[in-house]
């Protein structure tokens, strides 16, 4: 049986199981009986089997170069190396939807297992129903506009072009999309429970507690996925950067912003019973933004270096996005009175006050990024003009918000709940303040200049001091357990975010880039580094021809940026070579080998400080996320959670 038929059969089976699951759970909920649980187990099993089978069939088609499958004919090639051939499944639109669906069914299985003892609970029932609606949508996409198993009649001797050359020259391509999708799709679980809470009217803290670790893990995967994407971009695109405020990059950043706000504000609801509407809105927004991101990436409405080819998928995703927003808003409006919080914030100078400010800032950040991303579409729709919104806008608008967030990261960890006295603040913040001051002094001594980077370094030092203080106190009290649990893991995550913020500020403020026309033996000097061109070599690979330039940096090791030509894709790309140290990176890329010259090269060199700390920061975030989901020491109910009594006005 052909792969097209097998794959289409698997997708049809998955869709049938999803729709049946929806009906069975809905009927079970309507009849107030929990008997749906046995059938659901079967249906989830069938649905997951179908998703796995579809993926296996696609990989089989890719590995055997079965060009009768249109997706393989358009994206596969007999010349593509094995790893990238395997990763071709998520290199184009239809395959990426297949990967999304596989991960989604995995999450559904995990929910079913985790809540196996609560299948009679309507909260779990409505969450399962919501999950089935989402799986139905994605299976339906694969039978509609994003069909990965369309058949193709290849002419004799046909060989495909292979994936986009940019997607087959770095190992990160195998990891970045799956990790990113684990984050995107992971937010479906808290969304499903939020909808369930609204429908059942159990809008208290139960659904938050049930989904706390799911949210943190999804956030961690999304963070790591974004960092891996930036790393991939830096290592493959050859322009010496890693973040360009591109619409597709923004599409991944938007749910990260709202998800981060949610992770913080959820603590206010857990402790004080407040911000219920806000938390529900944030979790709905986060999920809706993942779908909007899918629309931006896959509809072709916005120009992006990362976008998939234009397809007919746009209206489907936009309709689903509208459905999510309308249903969620409708439910929130319906539960209006029950969502009113009984508590109030006693003082802005308190942990919950800081979380509130943090949420306002994250919401503002998300608004700026969303507005800047879709504004060209708005202008075009209103008066037909074509405009661009890029780096200068995003840098100018987000920089003050970033500074305020760094400041809050320094203040918030030392604040008690309810209210803080000036004495407490003064005592707890003096260490971080000295650390911040020392960082500014050190930066100036090593030659850093300019108010913006210095402010970022100082605030970063201040925030790192506060996080470090919390970790030191916790490990003194609890030993290694002082590194685990939500608060302590969260502080490790803060340190990772601070590393990234400081590295971002340094690399953007002190970037140096220049282009050089060099003949063999020529040396160029740039920011105190020497680059000597020692000649070039042509290397033939099965899928490409590379002309490699040998560049000796500072008289030491030789680096080999190359210009690669992929004949099947009819495209040439440059393959950068990067010298990384803890202090700075030198990224080299070949722009061209000018014709009519004797072995000359047009070389672009980019020198940026602290780049490697971006990737280290990403690893620290991943580690901190893992620590955060490990249960910490439980607080004794008698332990004070607020400032000492004498400091609280009665």
């Amino acid at each position: 049986m052909s792969n097209s038929i097998l794959g289409s059969g698997a997708v049809s089976l998955g869709l049938a199981a999803s729709i049946t699951g929806m009906i069975v759970v809905a009927m079970g909920l309507a009849n107030h009986r929990g008997s749906w649980k046995r059938e659901t187990r079967w249906l989830v099993g069938i649905m997951t089997f179908a998703a796995i089978a579809a993926v296996v069939v696609m990989e089989r088609a890719l590995i055997t170069r079965d060009f009768t499958v249109a997706y393989v004919a358009e994206n596969g090639s007999s010349k593509t190396p094995a790893l990238f051939n395997f990763a071709t499944m998520w290199a184009a639109l239809e395959g990426s939807i297949l990967l999304w669906t596989l991960i989604l069914t995995g999450y559904v299985v995990a929910v079913l297992v985790k809540f196996r003892d609560r299948h009679d609970d309507p909260m779990v029932g409505w969450a399962m129903l919501t999950l089935f609606v989402v799986t139905t949508f994605f299976f339906a996409l694969m039978l509609g506009p994003a069909n990965p198993f369309k058949s193709f009649n290849p002419p004799l001797g046909y060989d495909g072009p292979g994936p986009n050359p940019l997607l087959q020259n770095h190992v990160l391509m195998a990891f970045h999309p799956p990790v990113l999708y684990l984050g995107y799709v992971g937010f479906t679980v808290p969304f499903a429970f939020a909808i369930s809470a609204l429908v059942t009217g159990r809008v208290g803290e139960g659904w938050l507690l049930a989904t706390r670790r799911w949210t943190v893990m999804a956030w961690g995967f999304l963070s790591l996925g974004i960092i891996l994407g930036a790393w991939w971009s830096y290592e493959t695109l050859g322009w010496g950067g890693y973040w360009a405020w591109d619409p597709v990059e923004n599409a991944s950043f938007l749910p990260w912003l709202t998800g981060t706000a949610f992770i913080h504000s959820v603590m206010v609801q857990e402790r004080r019973g407040m911000l219920r509407v806000w938390n529900l809105s944030l979790v709905v927004s986060t999920f809706a933004l993942t779908i909007l991101g899918t629309f931006i990436t896959r509809s072709g409405v916005l120009n992006s270096v990362h976008a998939f080819v234009e397809s007919g998928i746009g209206p489907w995703i936009l309709t689903f996005f509208a459905l999510i927003v309308v249903v969620s808003l409708g439910l929130i409006a319906w539960r209006g009175d029950e969502l009113r919080s009984p508590g109030r914030i006693d003082s802005p100078v308190s942990r919950e006050g800081a979380f509130l400010a943090n949420n306002v800032l994250f919401a503002a950040f998300a608004f700026v990024v969303l507005l800047g991303t879709i504004f060209p579409l708005i202008v075009e729709a209103v008066d037909g003009r074509s405009i661009s919104v890029g780096n200068p806008y995003f840098d100018r608008m987000t920089m003050p918000i970033g500074f305020m967030l760094l400041f809050l990261m320094g203040i918030a960890p030392v604040l008690p709940w309810r209210k803080a006295s000036s004495g407490v603040l003064s005592q707890r913040l003096i260490g971080p303040a000295w650390f911040g001051a020392a960082v500014v002094l050190f930066s100036v001594l090593v030659g850093a200049r300019g108010w913006a980077p210095l402010l970022a370094f100082g605030l970063g030092g201040f925030a790192a001091g506060a996080s470090g203080r919390q970790l030191i106190l916790a490990t003194r009290r609890q030993g290694w357990r002082g590194l685990v649990g939500r608060t302590n893991g969260g502080m490790i995550v803060h340190i990772g975010v601070i590393l990234i913020a400081v590295a971002f500020a340094a690399s953007n403020a002190y970037v140096r880039q220049d282009e050089f026309n060099l003949l063999p033996g020529d040396t160029a000097t740039m920011s105190g580094h020497t680059l000597t061109f020692e000649g070039s070599t042509v290397i033939e690979y099965p899928n490409r021809t590379e002309r490699v330039a040998r560049i000796r940096i500072d008289g030491g090791q030789v680096y080999e940026p190359a210009l690669a030509t992929y004949p099947f894709a009819g495209q040439s790309i440059n393959i950068p070579s990067v010298r990384s140290t803890a202090v700075d990176d030198i990224a080299l890329s070949v722009l061209s080998y000018p014709e009519g010259t004797d072995d000359a090269v047009l070389l672009r060199a980019t020198i940026q400080p602290m780049i490697v700390w971006l990737w280290i920061g990403g690893l620290v975030i991943a580690g901190g996320t893992l620590m955060a989901v490990v249960p910490g020491n439980r607080r004794r109910p008698t332990d004070p959670v607020s400032a000492p009594l004498e400091e609280v006005s009665v």
């Binding site: 322009w239 619409p247 597709v248 306002v360 003009r385 919104v389 020392a438």
Partner: protein, 162 residues
Amino acid sequence: MSTSITRKRRSNLRLWSWIGAAVLAVSAFLYGSVSGGQPQTNAERAHALADNFACPVCSGQSVAQSDASVARIIRREIRTWVDEGRTTDYIRSQLVADFGEDIDYTPSATGITSLVWILPVVGGAGAITGLFFVFRRWKLDADFEASAEDVALVDAARADLP
């Protein structure tokens, strides 16, 4: 008596520590901000400018990022203008005249495009005002006299503390 003196001494010490940290941070910050370091070279200024314009034939890449030949030509043009001492406004107007408004990554602050600058500021101001009123209302709600019963309850609870 001696505890009170120690506490006061500690408080004074902390105050001086704060003053020391503030003086150190502010003076280092001002020195680093004002002294400016090495002036930007023409190459650096040209690169910074090229990052502010969209490559006219690429999908979402700036002139600085793109390897397309037209991007390389524009980079060379920008470098020539910078070497000639042209202003940023001159370079912007030349590129917009040659390639259209959408080459400029900085939206104009006039007409409908000004909304992209105004809306976040208005939204931010609205959020701050809203928070101010919310906290004010919460504070007013909290301004009540504790009854004798409340005070007795709190006293009893405090007496139970170890």
